[in-house]
C-alpha cells in the first residue's frame, strides 16, 4: 500500500532521510518509532506529499506521491502533530468542508453523521470546534482526515495530550479502521499506546531505517519471549542460536528477546535446556510489551556504534 524506495531528504547540511526504503502492506498499522530527530515527521510529511524529497520514490496505492501529490491526497488522510481546526465553524461544517475539499460528491449528511458517530462526536455536530476540549478536537481532526475514506491514514503523535480513556478509545478506533482495510502509519513516543494497535514496527534512527518487522501475534504461532539472566551474553546467544524454532534473537546486557515457534510445552523444554546449560535465569516468559522490548533492544544494540 505504501512503497518507499531509496528516499533521500536533505535540510541544509543535514541528511534527514538517508536512503529509506520500506513497504507497508495493506491493512496494517505500522508504528513509526525512533528518537527525537530521527526523521519520523519528515518521512510522514514526504509520504503525504507535503515535503518534496531530494530523490527517491514514494507510492501510495500505486500513485507516485512526488509526481502526483494531489491525486495521492484522494487516498491519503493526515493528522499533523500540531493540527488546527476552524474554531468558528461547527463540527458538522468542518467535516463538510473536509469532504468537499477532497472532492467527494454530495449529499454529505449521512457521511458526516457516520464519521462523527464513529469518533463519538454524534452529539457534538452543532457545536463550534473552538469550544471543544483537547480530546474532542483531536477526534474532530481525525474525523476530517478520514471522512473521505482514505486508504492510508498517517498520524503524527495522535494521542499527544489525551487522557488515558481517550487514548484507549483512539486505539479502538485505529483497530476498527484497520479492520475496514485501511493502512495506518502512526508515530508516537508513547510505546505502550502503540502496543495496543500496532501490527508492525518501523524504527528510524538518524535518518536511516534500522528495523522494520511484524510485532508479536502477527506471525501465527510465533510468540516473543523475553529471557533475563545473570552472567555473560555470549553463551546465551550461542545456545539460543542452536535451538530449533528460535529466531530473531536480540541480546544485550543480560536480556534476550527472541521469537519462538512452539507451544507452552516447547517453551518449558527450552527453559529446562537453558537451566541445564548453566544459565542463571532470573525471568523467562512472554515479552510484556513486544514493541517496547523490540524498540529498546534495537536502540541498545545500536547504541555502542553510535
Amino acid at each position: 500500500m505504501i512503497d518507499v524506495s531509496d528516499l533521500v531528504f536533505d535540510y541544509p547540511g543535514v541528511r534527514a532521510l538517508d536512503g529509506v526504503s520500506c513497504h507497508l502492506e495493506r491493512g496494517t498499522i505500522t508504528a513509526l518509532v525512533g528518537p527525537n530527530g530521527a526523521g519520523k515527521t519528515t518521512l510522514m510529511r514526504c509520504v503525504c506529499g507535503l515535503e518534496r524529497p531530494l530523490s527517491g520514490r514514494i507510492a501510495v496505492d500505486g500513485i507516485d506521491v512526488v509526481e502526483e501529490p494531489r491525486r495521492s491526497h484522494e487516498r491519503l488522510g493526515y493528522l499533523s502533530d500540531f493540527f488546527g481546526l476552524y474554531d468558528e465553524l461547527s463540527v458538522a461544517r468542518c467535516l463538510e468542508h473536509a469532504a468537499r475539499t477532497h472532492g467527494l460528491p454530495g449529499p454529505y449528511a449521512a457521511r458526516i453523521r457516520d464519521t462523527a458517530s464513529r469518533l463519538g462526536l454524534g452529539e457534538r455536530l452543532a457545536q463550534r470546534t473552538g469550544t471543544l476540549s483537547r480530546g474532542l478536537r483531536q477526534r474532530v481532526a481525525i474525523a476530517q482526515a478520514i471522512i473521505h475514506a482514505p486508504r492510508v491514514l498517517v498520524l503524527d503523535e495522535p494521542a499527544a495530550g489525551l487522557d488515558p480513556e481517550a487514548r484507549h478509545a483512539l486505539a479502538g478506533l485505529f483497530r476498527a479502521l484497520r479492520a475496514d482495510g485501511m493502512t495506518l502509519l502512526v508515530s508516537s513516543h508513547i510505546l505502550a499506546e502503540l502496543e495496543q494497535y500496532a501490527t508492525h514496527m518501523l524504527v528510524l534512527e538518524r535518518g536511516r531505517l534500522v528495523e522494520h518487522r511484524a510485532l508479536a501475534g502477527q506471525h501465527g504461532a510465533m510468540r516473543t519471549l523475553a529471557l533475563h539472566y545473570l552472567g555473560a551474553d555470549v553463551p546465551v546467544a550461542s545456545l539460543l542460536a542452536a535451538v530449533r524454532g528460535v529466531r530473531g534473537v536480540e541480546i544485550a546486557s543480560g536480556r534476550a528477546l527472541f521469537e519462538f515457534d512452539g507451544d507452552e510445552r516447547a517453551q518449558a523444554a527450552l527453559l529446562a535446556q537453558l537451566v541445564g546449560a548453566g544459565i542463571e535465569v532470573t525471568q523467562f516468559g512472554l515479552a510484556a510489551s513486544d514493541l517496547q522490548e523490540r524498540y529498546l533492544a534495537t536502540v541498545s544494540r545500536r547504541a555502542p556504534a553510535a
Partner: protein, 442 residues
C-alpha cells in the same frame, strides 16, 4: 460551489454582519443626502466612493490577505494542502470568499455613488473602480502568498494594510486627477479611461496568474516557467508603447520593447531574489533532475530569479539585433546596446552574490547582508572612491553599468563570472558535508 468559497462564506457572510454593513452604508448615504440639501448629488457621490474604497478596496484586501495568513496561524494550512482542490480553485475561492462581505457593503455604496454622480463616462468609471478593487485584492492575495511562503505571518497584516492603503490612495489620486483626456500609446491616441480599464484588467489577470503559480508551489503542483517570461514581454510592451511613434519601423519598436524588457526582467529578478523563499536544496534538486534527464522537472524547479535573469539576457541580445544603429533620439544620449549588456552583467553579478550570501548565513539574515552588499556596490564604495578622487579605481572595482557602459561591461562580465563561482562554492560549502539525523521538524 467552490469549497473554499463556501467555507469563507460560512465564516464571514452571516446575516447579522451583512445587515450591519448595509445599515452603515445607508447611514453614510443619509448623511450625504442631508449635506446635499436633501438630494443625491456631489457630496453623496464622494462619500459613497470613499465608502467603496474603504470597504471594498482596503477592507477587502485586508480580508483576502488574512484568509490565507490565518490558516498558517490556526495551523489549518496542512489540511488545505492535503485537499484535492486545485491551485486555481484555492486561489479564486479565497479571493472571492474573503471579499464577499466587503463587496456587498462596498458594492451597495458604489451603486449609490452611481445614482448621485455626474453621468459623464460613468460606466467606464464604474468599470475602472471594480477592476481596480479586483486588482488590489489579487495583489493582496499575491502578497499574502509571498508572506506564507516564508512562513512569517507576524508581519503580514501590517504589510498588507500598507500595500492596500497605498494602492487605494494611488488609485483614487489617479482617478480624480486623470480621469479625462487621452494618452499616446503605440503611436496612437487612446481615450484615458478605457485604456486604463483594459490595462488594469490585464494586470489583474497577470497578478492572478502569479497567485496561481505561488499557490501551485504551496500545493506541490508543478508548473513550467512560462508565466514570468510572459509577464516580462507584456510589461515591456506596455511600457514600450509609450515611447513608440507612429512612423517608427518595426525593428526599432522591438528594440525599445526589448530594452525596457531588460529593465523589467532585472527588476523582477531582484524582487524574486528578495521576496521569494529560496530553497537551499534547490541546486541539488536541479542537478538530480538534470542528471536523470527529467527536463520537465528541471524546468519546474528553476527559481524565478534565474528565469527572470535569463529573460533579461535574452532581451539584451534582442537589443543588439534590433536597436537602431545611429540617428535616433535614444542612441544620441545613451549607448543602449552596451548598456543593456552591462545591466545584464551587473544583474548576473549581483544576483549570484546575493545567492552566495544567502547560502552562507541563516535564512533571515541573508536579506540584510544582501541589502548591505547592494548599498556597498552601488552607493558607498563609488561614493568613497569619488570623494577620494579615485575614479579609475571606481571604474575598475565598482563600475556602474549606466556610466560609460563600454568600459564597465568587461569588468562587470568578469565580476559576474567570479560571482557565479562564489555562489557555487558557497552552496557546496553549505550543503556538504551531510550529517545524517536531526531530521524531525518538531
Amino acid at each position: 460551489m467552490n469549497a473554499e468559497l463556501r467555507r469563507l462564506l460560512w465564516l464571514d457572510f452571516t446575516g447579522s454582519r451583512a445587515g450591519a454593513m448595509l445599515m452603515a452604508v445607508a447611514a453614510i448615504a443619509g448623511l450625504g443626502w442631508l449635506l446635499d440639501g436633501e438630494s443625491f448629488a456631489g457630496t453623496t457621490a464622494t462619500l459613497m466612493l470613499a465608502s467603496f474604497i474603504a470597504l471594498t478596496v482596503a477592507w477587502g484586501a485586508n480580508q483576502v490577505g488574512h484568509a490565507l495568513l490565518d490558516e498558517l496561524r490556526a495551523r489549518t494550512w496542512d489540511q488545505q494542502r492535503m485537499s484535492a482542490l486545485s491551485p486555481w480553485a484555492m486561489s479564486w475561492g479565497k479571493l472571492l470568499g474573503a471579499s464577499a462581505l466587503p463587496w456587498l457593503a462596498g458594492g451597495s455604496a458604489l451603486l449609490l455613488h452611481a445614482c448621485a454622480a455626474a453621468p459623464e463616462a460613468l460606466a467606464w468609471k464604474l468599470g475602472l473602480y471594480v477592476a481596480g478593487a479586483l486588482f488590489i485584492h489579487a495583489l493582496a492575495l499575491f502578497g499574502a502568498l509571498l508572506i506564507l511562503q516564508r512562513r512569517a505571518q507576524a508581519h503580514g497584516s501590517l504589510v498588507l494594510r500598507f500595500i492596500g492603503g497605498l494602492l487605494a490612495l494611488a488609485m483614487v489620486y489617479a482617478f480624480f486627477q486623470r480621469e479625462r483626456g487621452a494618452l499616446e500609446w503605440g503611436g496612437h491616441a487612446w481615450p484615458m479611461l478605457p485604456f486604463i480599464a483594459v490595462v488594469l484588467a490585464q494586470a489583474t489577470a497577470w497578478v492572478l496568474l502569479g497567485c496561481q503559480r505561488l499557490m501551485s508551489e504551496e500545493l506541490q503542483v508543478r508548473t513550467q516557467p512560462w508565466a514570468l517570461p510572459g509577464w516580462v514581454i507584456w510589461t515591456g510592451t506596455l511600457l514600450g508603447g509609450f515611447f513608440v511613434t507612429a512612423d517608427m519601423p518595426w525593428p526599432a519598436r522591438i528594440g525599445i520593447v526589448a530594452a525596457l524588457a531588460v529593465g523589467v526582467a532585472l527588476a523582477a529578478a531582484y524582487f524574486a531574489a528578495f521576496a521569494l523563499r529560496t530553497d537551499p536544496m534547490l541546486p541539488r534538486r536541479l542537478m538530480v533532475a538534470v542528471a536523470r534527464g527529467d527536463w520537465s522537472r528541471a524546468g519546474s524547479l528553476l527559481p524565478p530569479w534565474l528565469v527572470a535573469l535569463v529573460c533579461a539576457g535574452l532581451a539584451a541580445l534582442l537589443v543588439q539585433l534590433t536597436w537602431p544603429a545611429a540617428g535616433s533620439l535614444f542612441t544620441a544620449f545613451l549607448d543602449t546596446r552596451t548598456t543593456a549588456l552591462a545591466l545584464f552583467a551587473a544583474g548576473l553579478r549581483d544576483l549570484f552574490v546575493i545567492h552566495a550570501l544567502g547560502s552562507s548565513v541563516r535564512e533571515d539574515r541573508g536579506e540584510i547582508i544582501a541589502l548591505l552588499y547592494l548599498a556597498l556596490a552601488y552607493w558607498l564604495l563609488p561614493g568613497i572612491f569619488a570623494l577620494a578622487g579615485a575614479q579609475a579605481l571606481a571604474a575598475l572595482l565598482t563600475p556602474l553599468p549606466w556610466v560609460l557602459p563600454a568600459r564597465a561591461l568587461p569588468v562587470l562580465a568578469l565580476q559576474a563570472v567570479a560571482a557565479i563561482a562564489l555562489a557555487a562554492w558557497a552552496w557546496t560549502r553549505r550543503v556538504r558535508p551531510l550529517t545524517a539525523g536531526a531530521g524531525d521538524r518538531s
